[in-house]
């Protein structure tokens, strides 16, 4: 008996999910009230969900527990430096007041200062130095090993280095793309097109996957019937 009752409950919830799935898919025919219901409901539900997460997975463990004794909510005075981020966080909210909006510049300044300061060495290392390292040092230039089409791998490594340089030349706009420089830039743009084509090929699979997953859900729901 208990199992049957449980199944009905699961089925009803799954029916709700299936209904929302079909409401959303109805947009493929044209924009309609059912789609709008699904869209607006999910905006509100998502915001509500996130608010709860922000409190239990942010505000409470990272701030309130430092300022108050959990459960009893009596103030604690041993970690008062947590008042600084509290005030900075609250200053963000002055954005809604025309008179006091300038106060929000302080937390924004903190964020920008720290984020940019962190980014400069790390991004330089990760995106520039490591990538140059990968192009020059990581490729083995191994001529004894066979690669694509039976061509020695070392040849493909040289091709890789040339194509990276050619693509970089394409992005260099301080010199007009003419003559030999223009020729290299042309190799660069063809390389970029192959790269974008590869991204598109993957994107087809990605987008179709999302629809397949929804169909799998509807199949599971129909199986219950």
């Amino acid at each position: 008996m208990e199992t049957a009752a449980f199944d009905v409950e699961v089925f009803l919830w799954m029916t709700l999910g299936a209904a929302f799935t079909l409401f959303t898919l109805s947009f493929l025919y044209k924009d309609n009230p059912l789609y709008k219901i699904a869209e607006h409901t999910v905006v509100g539900v998502s915001a509500g969900y996130f608010l709860v997460i922000l409190y239990y997975n942010g505000l409470r463990p990272n701030l309130l527990n430092h300022l108050f004794v959990p459960e009893t909510w009596t103030p604690k005075f041993d970690e008062l430096w947590y008042l600084v981020p509290l005030f900075l966080g609250m200053a963000m909210w002055t954005r809604f007041s025309r008179k006091w909006a300038w106060v929000s510049r302080y937390p924004i300044a903190c964020y920008f200062g720290i984020a940019t300061g962190v980014a400069i060495p790390n991004e330089m290392k990760n995106r520039v130095v490591e990538q140059i390292n990968g192009t020059v040092l990581r490729v083995g230039f191994e001529f004894s090993q066979s690669g694509f089409l039976g061509v020695p791998q070392g040849i493909w490594d040289i091709v890789l280095v040339i194509l990276v340089l050619a693509s970089l030349v394409y992005f260099f706009f301080s010199k007009e793309h003419k003559g030999w420089f223009g020729g290299i830039a042309k190799v660069g743009i063809y390389t970029l097109m192959i790269g974008f084509g590869a991204s598109f090929g993957y994107t087809v699979m990605a987008r179709v996957s999302l629809f397949i997953q929804r169909m799998q859900y509807l199949r599971d729901w129909l199986d219950m019937i």
Partner: protein
Amino acid sequence: MTFHERMITLDRRWIFLTLAVFVIIPFFLEFDIPVTVSKEVRDIYDFIEGLEAGDYILVGIDYDPNAMAELHPMSYAIIKQCFAKKLKVITLTLSQYGAGMAEQVVRDVADSTRIYHGFEPVYGEDYVFLGYRPYYAFVILGMGRDFRIPFPQDYYGTDLDSLPMMRGIRNYDQVECVIDMNGGTVADAWVSYGNGRYNVKLAFGLTGVMAADFYPFYQSGQIFGLMGGMKGAAEYEQLVDKPGPAKEAMKMQVFAHIVIIVFIGMANIGFFLGRRSRTKAGEVL
């Protein structure tokens, strides 16, 4: 309207309908798609297989429901493998709607491990879920110093030091690797701040849209493995010998790809026929 004009001016709803029908048809057909495992996927599998029971691994479930189709199967397969190897699994999410995704994966896999492998993963001893924190770049940097900076408590509000498996675990130094399933910009932050700053051994499960962009990181050794899209997920399911939704979805993928290739081919044929007839008309005129 000429034939080639018809070929290139089809109402988009016919395309929608055809694609939908061809995705649904394979649900009723019994056949199997062979999946060739690529090196970048095998590298992740081999690395985890090489770990010892009791080693720590961090699994990031950094995606929202909109990317679950591709990344959920990867998360399931990876965590299944970790539990089968009796690794200690730390999970977290840096995606705002990702907490529900992570909780679902961890709960389901723990249940199935209990049923199919006889091993009962215990929360706090064999796995933990740290939960979500905002500003992912700072969270990743914070964990490099101490997990307790961004996560003084786990998802359920338990102090980290009260969880037996987290005692003695301070930062990435005690974790063998980070496998991050990712549907957005968090992946860049993991490379820049996790690997760049703290030399974390890092591998990714990515949506198909992102996968091609991360090959430079794989080649440069900043990440040691890469699963791209549904195909990557299917490959991993095959490796852990647990065919699941991704393996099944490859059937539908085949049909959908054929439809899209045919439509692109049709439009190009129509375009060339049109151009030829325009050229001919120009010659006559």
